[in-house]
Symmetry: C2
Subunit: 472 residues, 2 copies
């Protein structure tokens, strides 16, 4: 494809993207497809003929775009906000267009240094001290694995340089709660911790925040039994109900045993850019690592997960490689981000954050987040005031967890069947999308407010739609 062919096709594609965004609200949120439907639209052998860019765009529209869930839709309230602001999409396009290669400082000095600049800007916008040093990972799952690996090596005085995890004198223990994201358990197991050594700490039955007294008790029991506390993962805004584990109290306990403290603020970290919300994160300065995803509520297109570390030199020692073919005299003390994570090759991800901050500006992002906090409170109040509806968890940020129980007549499996019936009916209508989730083994429904395009009017419509399917 020549640059001029690219130019013509690129203009058409940009128009298509702009049109799709303009009309996003006119489409279904959840696509009307079953497993296998999309794959069946394609030949099962590779194409032998080429096609024009216009034909390919036609297939993109007909065969592919009709098979995605429209998370940019104003009636998308599922999982968590997964915003892709148009400004950040421009930055992502710039990254693709540069065709740059991040394997070392020398392979793309700007890729490394703009990342350093932008993650430091974001640190300041979050009110974090300059004790923190940042990097962009793909996702918070990866950041969690990286934290687990760093903790493992700190707890074992770099066992990887000897026999690895075999023949350790004691079990290495991981502490978290049942509300923590699934990536915490996954990261622990992948890092070589055993399922037997993951401790699930009790939570407050209403807020679902970790109970520090129970953490202290379990940790002390482990030490007494000859085990070694390696890492505590505190959720700052859990996925299910936005629980905020008390980081200050956790840190005070963990520090007695020199356990690593990782704060997983994947969704809720966006709220740190609002000074009035920072009290939710009290104690975060005491952690060893933090991660949060601008690619969620904040609005930077996936993938863009910020990870901050207090001691990057420790991580570099765990991750570092320096083969001759990647050495360069010019680089000197330059940051080599390959030593801050798993992949060697990295995209120029900082550009999407940079574009967003430069074009949209932090003030407009803050305004939008505040709008969402108010909207979440508004819809929570609506349901709280209705007969037969219950808020099953407090509204800490922008997630509202509800359950409908007509005349309080249902329980157990009957209540679950009712809940799943109405939420699936709503989701399959294509008019709105909500994620059900379990709490104490009972299904409830999460309204995760925060799509960039969601205004109060959409929330008003959501109340009508939900009541229509649930109360029918």
């Amino acid at each position: 494809m020549t640059p001029d062919e690219f130019r013509a096709a690129g203009h058409e594609l940009i128009d298509w993207i702009a049109d799709r965004r303009t009309e996003v609200a006119t489409r279904r949120v959840l696509p009307d497809v079953q497993p296998g439907d999309v794959a069946a639209r394609f030949p099962n052998t590779p194409p032998t003929e080429t096609a024009s860019a216009a034909e390919v765009l036609g297939e993109l529209e007909e065969l592919i775009a009709t098979g995605i869930t429209e998370v940019q839709h104003p009636m998308h309230f599922g999982w968590f906000p997964s915003n892709a602001s148009l400004s950040s999409i421009l930055g992502d396009i710039a990254s693709s267009g540069l065709g740059s290669l991040g394997i070392s400082w020398e392979s793309s000095p700007a890729l490394t240094e703009v990342e350093e600049v932008v993650v430091d800007w974001m640190r300041q916008l979050c009110g974090l001290s300059d004790n923190w040093h940042g990097v962009i990972q793909d996702t918070a799952s990866t950041a969690c694995l990286v934290a687990m690996l760093a903790a493992r090596e700190r707890a074992t005085d770099h066992a990887q340089t000897r026999g690895g995890l075999r023949n350790l004198p004691s079990a290495l223990c991981v502490y978290t709660t049942a509300e923590a994201h699934s990536s915490v358990r996954k990261g622990a197991l992948l890092a070589g911790f055993g399922a037997d050594d993951i401790r699930v700490i009790d939570v407050d039955p209403w807020t679902r925040d970790m109970l520090p007294a129970h953490l202290a008790e379990v940790m002390q029991a482990d030490v007494t039994a000859g085990h070694q506390p390696a890492i505590v993962v505190a959720s700052a805004g859990s996925t299910g109900v936005t629980a905020f584990d008390p980081i200050s109290e956790i840190a005070a306990i963990a520090s007695i045993h020199d356990a690593w403290i990782h704060v997983d603020a994947a969704m809720a970290g966006s709220a740190m850019v609002l000074p009035e919300m920072r009290s939710r994160f009290e104690g975060i300065e005491e952690a060893d690592s933090i991660s949060w995803n601008p690619h969620k509520w904040f609005g930077t297109i996936l993938d863009c997960s910020l990870m901050y570390l207090r001691d990057p030199q420790h991580l570099i020692r765990v991750m570092s490689t320096n083969p001759s073919y990647l050495q360069s005299t010019a680089a000197g003390d330059a940051t080599q981000y390959r030593d801050w994570g798993v992949p060697l090759g990295r995209r120029f991800r900082a550009l999407k954050l940079w574009y967003q901050l430069r074009i949209d500006g932090i003030a407009s992002i803050q305004d939008r987040l505040r709008r969402d906090l108010e909207n979440a409170q508004w819809i929570a109040d609506e349901f709280a005031a209705l007969d037969d509806w219950e808020l099953v968890a407090p509204v800490r940020l922008q997630t509202v967890c509800i359950r409908h129980n007509p005349n309080d007549s249902l329980s157990g499996a009957d209540l679950d069947a009712h809940t799943l019936r109405w939420v699936r009916e709503l989701n399959s209508s294509g008019r709105a999308f909500l994620s059900p989730s379990q709490l104490d083994d009972q299904w409830m429904v999460r309204i995760s407010v925060g799509a960039e395009s969601t205004e109060r009017s959409h929330l008003e419509r959501l109340v009508v739609l939900i009541r229509g399917v649930a109360e029918a």
Copy 2:
């Protein structure tokens, strides 16, 4: 940013990308910057004012694009080809524009199913049997880590479900060569294998291919000592000199001890789309996992690493999570790619491969790869015929490893100083870029042929430039 603002800015950005590509050969390959230079162009506090998209594009041009290494330049011969074909950039832009979210089948059915379709097309184009099941990882480094984790859990009958790696009855051993990519050692250490248990198998002194007799000997010695062979990583085209470990013979040995076999074909895997080159990969069907990067020579923009597994169900058991908030009745048996790797959230990476295959077509890609093989042979013959020049390794594909030694007068540190002097002089001129690399602790220079824009005339110019700096 509104869709219409995006439309206008997007058109400007597309033109800028097309113009940059048109003029790529007029720029320096290596930018004229020192560590810190790019960062110093930016304020160290976050922007408080917004800017127009045109202003931001101006800054992208002035402050950022002047600080990248132009790996799309026809005179880029460093590391490995890092092609970003314009067709694949279009696909990447489509992915960004869709703003889709890959956390489950339901979150974007097309993201999952188009990936299944396209990785299967690529499997067929590589001549791999339908025993293989594919997924796109970000990089081969990550694929290597995933293979290490899968091997670890197979060797321990899923120790992660119990106590993890502690109290294993025997050491778990990893086998590879000194020519293997740095990510092999890194992946082993991150997966919890110890440095003490990584075995570096001897290689042929000329080809640098693993010597299977030595592998058999070391593996047997480990078993005799009560250790357990866990994984062999065979390099199919190593980074330094494109060594091809003999996979058939390795597999015969590894299978005796039920060790996992991972084939790292990160760079050279592109050659599998050339039927005449497949003999280089003989035995690959016997492996347990394979990875190679379309984002290198093949020309798909970073990041796009294909990983194929013979038994994905094993990997899924190692990686799987299924929290309530990600469950969906509709999904049924649908593939959940989150269980094939580390991150939960995934981009729509299949689109860039799909665009490339549809627009450029496999035939034109094959033609380009054959051109590069011929060009590499041509420049190798040129240097072989010159006095004072030596090919220090055989030319297996598109990498030519050379050294200059005037009148055979230099050795040891003096020879290294001469080699590094001339290659750095050439690189810092900005006219071409080559990566030096070490072989038997002596520096040599790699000419990695294969940038999409590199024609014979560029190779001819490279010979003149190299001789100019080295023979001066």
